[in-house]
């Protein structure tokens, strides 16, 4: 006799089946149909093959291959795709994840260690996934006397601010999530939120280590925000725009780093300080104050902070590329899409398959993305490099550097830019355009 269902009766089983069907129909008609109608009313649907897309037609895309690619293509130009996948969160998170792994291997090689080795057989390539699962499965511990709302909100706000920063970085011509006319000012506004989040979470955890780390983070970030803003003004003066895409377009023939090397160096140093990386990693100095303002975080809350940190790293590297290294500009190396496939389709033996709407991405976009990624990865490696080389510096030396030397250098940079502008060499209406 079965011990699983000792009271089994066929009539009750059939009755429960009818019950299930009833609930499915009820929920579908109360929730599913309204969703379909909300989509119909409020979302602007594309016209595909001279036919307006409706949710009902969308269901047929699996059966009708001539409709599949156009639907995918029109989906790729929607805002939701841009936010979630390509120039936005997905792309940045992928690069950030790759950065974490590369950082560990790169530092290990630099210091003649091995680095992650066992997880995933080949050079520990699955280490990152293992760490992720570990973080997700760990318990989230909240200190007893912590200020719970702020402590919970901290990591979320941090990732949110990092995501807002990522959304402003243009990756390829036209491929940017948010393209405001005052893009660079928006970057400054977003950067201003990070010290607040750091010091609030540090205070909320109610621990000495976090609070010391938070105060250090605040000192350091506030001190380095000013040279950061000043060092970028040279680029704004010469390109005559605050829009990041227009700044990239202004570097079609030469990069601004060729004319403003001092600004680029100052900006690079402030990036290191804003990202709390060695040699400016005092806020999380692990040999003095446990982990600084991250001490009390555990489990996925720590994971979120880590994700936010690396998103921020990608965004800063991307900003450096956009402002000084010419963004997506570069020689055309991506091969064009073969014309035969567009006009005649793919012929295999007797069968010819035509794919309408085939070049899914245009050549400019792929080439631009390629150059942007190459440059960004280079800058990210440069940001990672000091961690294997330099020791940590003292807080008074950091503040001295930030308040005295970098601000002075940033002003020299501004005067160089102004000189080039007034000499009529560069800038709007200059000799070199």
């Amino acid at each position: 006799m079965s011990t699983i269902a000792p009271q089994f009766r066929l009539s009750r089983f059939i009755g429960s089946l009818f019950d299930l069907i009833f609930w499915v129909i009820l929920i579908f008609s109360l929730v599913g149909l309204p969703i379909v109608f909300i989509v119909l009313f409020y979302i602007k649907l594309p016209v595909i093959n001279n036919q307006l897309m409706t949710p009902y037609l969308a269901m047929t895309w699996m059966a009708d291959p001539s409709r599949t690619l156009p639907i995918v293509k029109s989906f790729m130009h929607t805002t939701i795709f841009k936010v979630m996948a390509f120039p936005g969160f997905g792309f940045a998170a992928l690069l950030a994840a790759a950065t974490i792994f590369v950082e560990r291997k790169f530092l290990a090689k630099m210091q003649l260690r091995v680095g992650p080795l066992y997880c995933g057989k080949i050079e520990g390539i699955l280490q990152l996934m293992g760490d992720g699962f570990k973080l997700m499965s760990k318990e989230i511990i909240i200190p007893a006397k912590a200020d719970k709302p702020i402590f919970w909100l901290g990591p979320l706000l941090f990732v949110g601010a990092a995501g807002a920063f990522v959304s402003l970085i243009p990756v390829a011509p036209g491929w940017v999530v948010a393209n405001p006319n005052v893009g660079l000012l928006a970057v400054f506004a977003v950067i201003g939120f990070f010290p607040i989040i750091a010091v609030l979470t540090a205070w909320a955890a109610n621990s000495k280590w976090t609070f010391i780390g938070g105060l250090r983070a605040l000192h350091q970030m506030v001190a380095f925000e000013i040279p950061l803003i000043l060092s970028l003004l040279g680029v704004v003066i010469l390109s005559g725009s605050l829009n990041l895409s227009q700044i990239v377009e202004s570097q079609e023939h030469f990069w601004w780093i060729a004319f403003l090397p001092i600004g680029a160096i100052v900006f690079f140093i402030t990036i290191l300080a804003e990202l709390e990386r060695v040699p400016f990693d005092l806020p999380e100095a692990e040999s003095e104050i446990v982990a600084g303002w991250l001490t009390e975080f555990s489990g996925m809350m720590y994971g979120l902070i880590q994700l936010g940190t690396y998103l921020k790293l990608y965004a800063f590297a991307g900003l450096f590329v956009v402002l000084f290294l010419g963004g997506w500009n570069g020689p055309m190396v991506w091969p064009p899409f073969p014309q035969d496939i567009i006009t005649q389709g793919i012929t295999i033996g007797p069968v010819t398959a035509k794919f309408p709407g085939l070049p899914l991405f245009d050549q400019d976009m792929l080439n631009g993305t390629l150059w942007f990624v190459i440059k960004t990865v280079g800058v990210i490696l440069l940001i990672l490099l000091p961690r294997g080389v330099f020791p940590r510096v003292r807080i008074d030396m950091i503040l001295h550097t930030g308040w005295y030397k970098l601000i002075g250098l940033a002003f020299i940079n501004i005067f160089i830019a102004l000189g080039l502008l007034y000499a009529g060499v560069l800038g709007p209406g200059g000799l070199l355009q």
């Binding site: 200020d147 702020i150 405001p180 006319n181 005052v182 000012l185 928006a186 400054f188 506004a189 950067i191 201003g192 939120f193 010290p195 607040i196 010091v199 609030l200 205070w203 105060l215 605040l218 506030v222 925000e225 605050l242 003292r394 008074d396 030396m397 001295h400």
Partner: protein, 170 residues
């Protein structure tokens, strides 16, 4: 759409302003103040002035709110505040505020603001910069002088000759 956003922003701004005044915890009060300032930035965005909105965010939320947080965290509050609980004072304050708002409101409405053209395009920030350097240049110079003198004054006040730093590397 704009109306509902305006309503939400108004509720956020005024609600958090009241919270900033009424909440006992100083940290939460300063967070509420940050929300108020962000709400004001939202109003500027609604008014097609993204330039001012971004400066509102980066200066007020990014710097001034940080300064307030810093002060609140570093100073023991018993030293700077003493509680005065008085119902009558509160009602008098509310009454004074209502009278003030009504007065300012009548002045603004009477000033012909209602006839403003709301469909004109947003002002380009380049135009703002041009006006600053040409028509309003005396004001700009005076502002720069005031800021410079206040910075120099702050540095003079903060400078202390009696502290000898033996650890200085340079």
């Amino acid at each position: 759409m704009v109306d509902s956003v305006f309503l939400a922003l108004s509720v956020l701004t005024i609600g958090s302003a009241i919270a900033a005044l009424e909440i006992r915890s100083l940290i939460y009060g300063s967070i509420a103040l940050m929300l108020t300032l962000s709400g004001v930035a939202g109003f500027f965005l609604l008014l097609d002035a993204p330039f001012v909105a971004m400066f509102q965010l980066s200066v007020y939320v990014g710097s001034i709110a940080v300064l307030i947080l810093f002060t609140v965290m570093l100073v023991r509050r018993e030293l700077i505040f003493n509680k005065v609980e008085d119902k009558r004072r509160r009602y008098a304050g509310i009454g004074l505020m209502i009278v003030l708002m009504l007065g300012i409101g009548t002045i603004i409405i009477g000033s012909g603001l209602k006839t403003m053209d709301t469909n004109s395009p947003a002002v380009d920030y380049k135009k703002i910069g041009e006006d600053f350097l040409t028509y309003y240049s005396p004001a700009l110079i005076v502002m720069a002088l005031i800021l410079a003198s206040s910075i120099i004054g702050a540095m003079t006040l903060a400078r202390r000759e009696d502290v000898i730093d033996g650890q200085r590397a340079d």
